[in-house]
Symmetry: C2
Subunit: 149 residues, 2 copies
DNA sequence: TAATATTGCTTGCAAAACAAAAGTAAAAAA
DNA sequence: TTTTTTACTTTTGTTTTGCAAGCAATATTA
């Protein structure tokens, strides 16, 4: 199923791809929590069911937000990594968190409010860039370790 | 049903509220296309079904993103207006459109690419602020016309 | 004023998406 | 070589979505 779009509106088209409860949560887990294997995702606090995880990972790969690889020394464990298209979602995630921070605490008082949130509040663009750079470094390290094998 | 949250993560919590195919499309229609009545929404190009529209409007109201009013001279037509909490979604919408612009054209070449998109590309923050200010002016005008009656 | 149209829904039903639990096959570890 | 781990798939519901029709209250037109 090659993604279907409702119309030519850029807002709506983004939601045709990203508009559900899981897609961006998976991207967040990769970008912020460093998850990269099927098992990693099943162990997250959001507790996604394995059948849904499998279908969403497939969709993310089809759209080009992630790629699926393996480390040369391990034939079993798949590695799911963000592409540039996936990394470009960082500013959306940051805006989502910022909106929660400012507008959801009245109906959901236990939303975390740590040091990272302070940084995010202070400069959203810088926060998003930091996330992307950190992930790019990780990607570079992963690639390097693969070539060493 | 008072909104349920999966966990205390600000990213995930935003998606608990906004993560579906319609919520942000309705907000977009209000903020960008100036829609404000039930009929307005049913006539949009995204063609939402009336039962889904009704349920989503209810949810948006419960969460506090919109309010439902009437003009004093018309007892039939409901007016749905964005609250501050709803207006604060503008930066998210802008980031979504920006991501589409830069990352979806390969699989969806007919995404619109007009003058507005150029402005958005040029300065996302300014674009979001302009949207919010324009809507606030409209709100002020609506309120004023109500007091005149 | 009576008939007609409009607005804002609700209801019923089929299809698709989501979810919990269990099962499975290949690879890795003991 | 047995056990465990990883990455799924399958099965069986339940919930959400979507289409079509219906309906009541208000507004408009004749």
């Amino acid at each position: 199923m090659p993604q279907d779009f409702r119309c030519n509106c850029p807002f709506t088209s983004a939601l045709d791809v990203l508009g559900d409860k899981w897609i961006l949560v998976i991207v967040k887990q990769m970008l912020i929590e460093g998850k990269e294997t099927f098992k990693d995702f099943t162990e997250s606090e959001e507790a996604i069911a394995t059948n849904i995880l499998a279908s969403k990972l497939k969709l993310l790969e089809e759209v080009g937000i992630i790629i699926k690889t393996k480390r040369p020394e391990n034939k079993k464990t798949n590695l799911y990594l963000l592409t540039d298209k996936g990394l470009a979602l960082a500013p959306i995630l940051v805006e989502l968190a910022s909106w929660s921070d400012g507008n959801l605490r009245d109906i959901h008082p236990t939303i975390v409010n740590g040091e990272a949130m302070e940084l995010l509040r202070n400069d959203k663009t810088a926060f998003a860039n930091a996330l992307m750079n950190k992930y790019k470094e990780k990607l570079a390290a992963t690639k390097a370790s693969m070539n060493n094998q």
